[in-house]
Point group: C2
Chain length 312, copies 2
């Protein structure tokens, strides 16, 4: 069963003196995620944010910004358009829309290019591709408004492909439990003290939101061998922790995307030696963020056998 | 202008005591290529084969086999089905159908999986993927019939991506001439003594068929920067020559696919040091061929800038 795990993502920042996003009622967010064909499964909150676990990924809402990540065949762009139609553009300080290159793009209702065309009918901006067409790459659109993020505003995305056979076994086991998966993911080491909200999908798949003070982590797992993928995104400093997911999932390859990280060399120094750093792209964008994209893959000396396809 | 240069390919081998393919009239081949939405532009012949240059790539016809390569949005599978419907399966000794992973698969009318499903209604076989889903890969289907190729039956496919800026300049120049391109491709060194048939497309794009005795070469060039791609396929020994196209096009990456080559180590030794050998896949398939797939990319130390997208 092919599933496009890789996500569309939106971060929308508002002037909270004009609109406090946390004061919008839950019905609004329900409607917003419905626009892209997702539903809210559960919610956790702390003094800083509300974290919604969705049928397809996650929504985090802070006073002055929200982060929406949706996978599969969802049309995240429609949620953005809905927000802009409902609340106007005046309070919007910045809007960043990202989309990973897809491996089953023929299953998608739209392309990144379609999405940006739709958005540009309402609001102007610029679009970039990080990485080459014939390799891993990530598309990013931002609006043309000057914005200066705070010093604390950093994001790390770790997008892992081709996870190890043992992981696939654990993650696709029938009737797998949250407890086993939390343990498998080493959450006690990764996020001690975080409030956790997670969900095991049928027949497999796992999503997690976790928050502590200003920090969040979200993990989404597509474990099937034919299209295995794991996304991991956080705003805590990943230098001390990047090894944990890499050791748990032992991916064949991964992308590391950062926004305003000031410790890329230290971060890359933590990546196990088995990985080759294939590609680095960096841009200081007009939206106020310095964005980096790096692709790593595990070098395999041996000659592989072809993969026999059975899905006919 | 995005164009999916990468091709679908079919090699169909018959028992020439039952059907001599060269005795089929040109109307038949015209109809066969029309089935996949291609047309014949021109033809060259020698005592061994007829080589047709198509509006989308090439058709080579020998007494006992034909090779059809088509790019863009053509549906090569329909040409295969047409052949089987017209001439039956009894004379067919082997049939191999290949398809490269596409970068704009949302523009394709079918997927490899759709194609194989269609073919399997008529004739049974097995399908493989050479390479990982999230990297360059090539799909191959062959029918379930025992077949033993001759010792001379070897094929080399060199599929090049992301060609150098100077190449793009030469290859996309308005009103570019065959003479300039033949010189640029170093055809005098590459294929001395071959009969050549080539075509310069509007606004750009170039195709070449060349034959000499039992040997053939076919080159198809999609030069536009947004999706540059060059395919190069031959049955002459590539060891002495692989450097010529690699030095002409200086691709950012390439796939090398071989059928029954007995000199892979010597071939790989000729690849310039600038390229990293990322992936090797090898299979001894039930169709009688040992097929290898290797992916190489040029390692770039520097950090790249993001690519600004203007197509909105």
């Amino acid at each position: 069963m092919l599933f496009e795990g890789s996500e569309k993502k939106c971060e929308l920042i508002v002037d909270s003196s004009k609109i406090n996003l946390r004061e919008l009622d839950k019905e609004f967010w329900k409607e917003l995620v419905a626009k892209c064909n997702a539903t809210i499964l559960s919610t956790i909150s702390n003094e800083h944010c509300d974290a919604y676990l969705l049928s397809e990924s996650s929504l985090f809402v802070w006073k002055d910004h929200f982060l929406l990540i949706t996978c599969g065949q969802t049309t995240l762009i429609d949620s953005i358009v809905f927000f802009l139609e409902t609340h106007g553009q005046e309070a919007v300080r910045q809007l960043i829309f990202q989309r990973k290159n897809e491996y089953f793009s023929y299953l998608q209702p739209t392309t990144f290019f379609d999405d940006v065309k739709k958005l540009k009918k309402t609001i102007d901006g610029e679009a970039y591709r990080f990485g080459k067409i014939d390799g891993h790459h990530n598309y990013l659109f931002h609006i043309n408004k000057e914005y200066k993020p705070t010093n604390l505003d950093k994001t790390y995305e770790l997008l892992m492909y081709d996870i190890c056979p043992k992981c696939i076994e654990v993650l696709t086991k029938e009737n797998q439990t949250k407890e086993v998966l939390r343990d498998f993911l080493a959450l006690d080491k990764l996020i001690p003290g975080f409030i956790i909200d997670d969900f095991v999908f049928e027949p497999y798949g796992y999503s997690l939101n976790a928050i502590k003070d200003e920090h969040y982590l979200t993990i989404h797992i597509t474990p099937q061998e034919s299209s295995s993928y794991i996304s991991f995104e956080t705003n805590f400093d990943l230098v001390e922790k990047i090894n944990i997911p890499l050791e748990v999932f032992r991916p064949g390859s991964f992308d590391l995307i950062t926004f305003n990280s000031d410790n890329i060399p230290q971060l890359i120094a933590q990546v196990p030696d088995a990985y080759t750093d294939k590609r680095k792209v960096q841009g200081e964008l007009g939206c106020g963020y310095t964005v980096t994209f790096s692709h790593f893959y595990k070098h395999v000396q041996e000659t592989l056998a072809p993969y026999k396809l059975e899905e006919f």
